[in-house]
Symmetry: C2
Subunit: 322 residues, 2 copies
């Protein structure tokens, strides 16, 4: 049987990284990253639990991708450039094929974003994956949640709700044909963190965050931090390609409160509309204008004809949900 | 029932920290730490799993202490000054008294080492605590594993084996009277990371690490990284106060391969013996000289009379152990 040290060496230590940013990486008490004057380190940590964030028996390659993707998405939301990450995980036992696939999925995404694994921990226990990611951003340029201003446009990247659509089908809430499920599930299992867009929005956007628990709940964090309110044009929300084929009520519910979207929601002054569209074009990511920041607190929902909508929905909450 | 956000706010967000090192802490997508020219960030991540690293029903105050202590111990082993940490954990459910106690134990140690909680994640799942800790060290001054030189003395801080002694009694491997168990268990449940010693050893010690899996196995990492060997004087190893009252064979086994000691093992040239003792005095931590680094690979064990010892022991390994 592989020991912990053999395991680390075989699947998680790579002979060299193109950038070799860490003076010291996997294999000492700590990794060392050299600091630079004028920069800030952006740090985020996410924990994924089997049966909660992914199904038991989930494809390990995709799980490796997603575990890192949800963390890179937090860097994207700050406008921070990925630098490095640590991986701590507990596993019921050593399954080499699983580890091989998991590490390949994780490293494929890490390499695409030039993000280096610099340390971590492995132990025995119920499957749990905890990644902490490090990015860098020039002082003062981070996209914060508390920076929305009255009059700002509200934007969202990509599309919303296909991950939720796939999840509901997998939970047998409703039936979805196999092709639609496969296509929707791409959003659920292998979300693409909007790193390039986050970087391109520096100096353009005011506030930003990534939509992981549902748009309306996550936008609420911006509103609360910035002490403002908003009006959202619900029928302007960009539904995922598979969700577009579903009934209006489901489209509204899943775009507003689906969860697992990992798109960026951000605000920017109306004077920067061209700049926002240019940044999106440069980043290869679509963006959609979905509402406006207002002084009046709370979130007002309008339908496609500008009439008030009263939908009884709330954001996904890990402890409050059943 | 408390939601995830209420939970974070109630127990883990503190109005202000004396140093306020984080430009942005708990409550945004990422925390932000400002970098400084000439410094390196030391990073370590440890995951603690219920039933593996601590007993089900463990005292939450002590668990909060230990979860952070094992991470601070990694900073100590690098000679890095604690700066900040993130906390990600999964819990079966929200128990306010548990959270209150856990956070108090964690913050008591964090404050003692001036280490600020800057972010993290909470979710539902089997109890699992993952802390990632950040320290700082001037470039080139970190105590690495690969820096031992032939002729170096080998030293260890504090005492070894009382944590293992307590663990064995708790597992009913043997009986220990209640008072001895209580005293030995202090080492098991509330280890004191040797941060001050690690800082004091900068510029004096060559290689260092923290002893978490048993001295002989952990020393082996220094030897392998530094491409050297060692002779250890087994009966010179400083046994814990409770272990000292046990038979010789147990003293040898538990000091050499006990685990959970969180003491520093380090090497330093013989010319620096006075400096080592001075650093230990300044840090308020005892240190003991236990062997010497040699060119011949492998570890040779000697008894109190200088005769070779052949003990069949190996370091604790999370996956290889039953």
């Amino acid at each position: 049987m592989l020991s912990e040290f053999d395991l680390i060496a075989r699947y998680f230590v790579r002979p060299s990284h193109p950038k070799n940013r860490a003076t010291l990486g996997v294999g000492d008490d700590c990794a060392l990253l050299t600091q630079q004057a004028g920069m800030q380190t952006a740090i985020s940590s996410d924990m994924l639990v089997e049966g909660r964030h992914f199904f038991a028996g989930a494809d390990p390659f995709k799980l490796g991708h997603k575990s890192l993707a949800v963390n890179l998405s937090d860097l994207a939301a700050m406008g921070a450039e990925p630098v490095a990450f640590t991986l701590a995980f507990s596993l019921p036992g050593v399954e080499e094929e699983w580890l091989s696939q998991f590490s390949q999925g994780m490293f494929a995404l890490a390499d695409a974003h030039d993000c280096e694994l610099i340390g971590g921990d492995t132990t025995k226990g119920p499957l749990n994956i905890c990644i902490t990611v490090f990015g860098r951003v020039p002082i003062g340029q981070a996209l914060r949640r508390d920076a929305a201003l009255v009059g700002d446009d509200i934007w969202v990247s990509g599309s919303l709700g296909d991950a939720r659509l796939a999840l509901g089908a997998l939970y047998n809430e409703y039936a979805l044909n196999a092709d639609a499920l496969d296509r929707a599930a791409i959003h659920l299992h292998t979300p693409q963190p909007r790193v390039a867009l986050g970087l391109a929005l520096r100096g353009i956007a005011h506030a930003a965050l990534d939509v992981s628990d549902g748009l309306i709940g996550d936008l609420g964090h911006i509103l609360k931090s910035s002490q403002v309110g908003a009006t959202l044009n619900v029928d302007a929300l960009p539904a995922g390609a598979m969700l577009q084929q579903q009934p209006l009520e489901m489209r509204r519910r899943f775009t507003l409160a689906g969860g697992d979207d990992y798109e960026l929601c951000f605000t920017a002054p109306a004077s920067k509309r061209e700049a926002v569209l240019g940044a999106a074009l440069a980043a290869g990511t679509e963006v959609t204008r979905i509402g406006v920041i207002e002084a009046e607190r709370g979130t007002r929902l309008l339908d496609g004809d500008g009439r008030p909508l009263d939908l009884n929905i709330s954001s996904f909450d890990h402890f409050a949900s059943p």
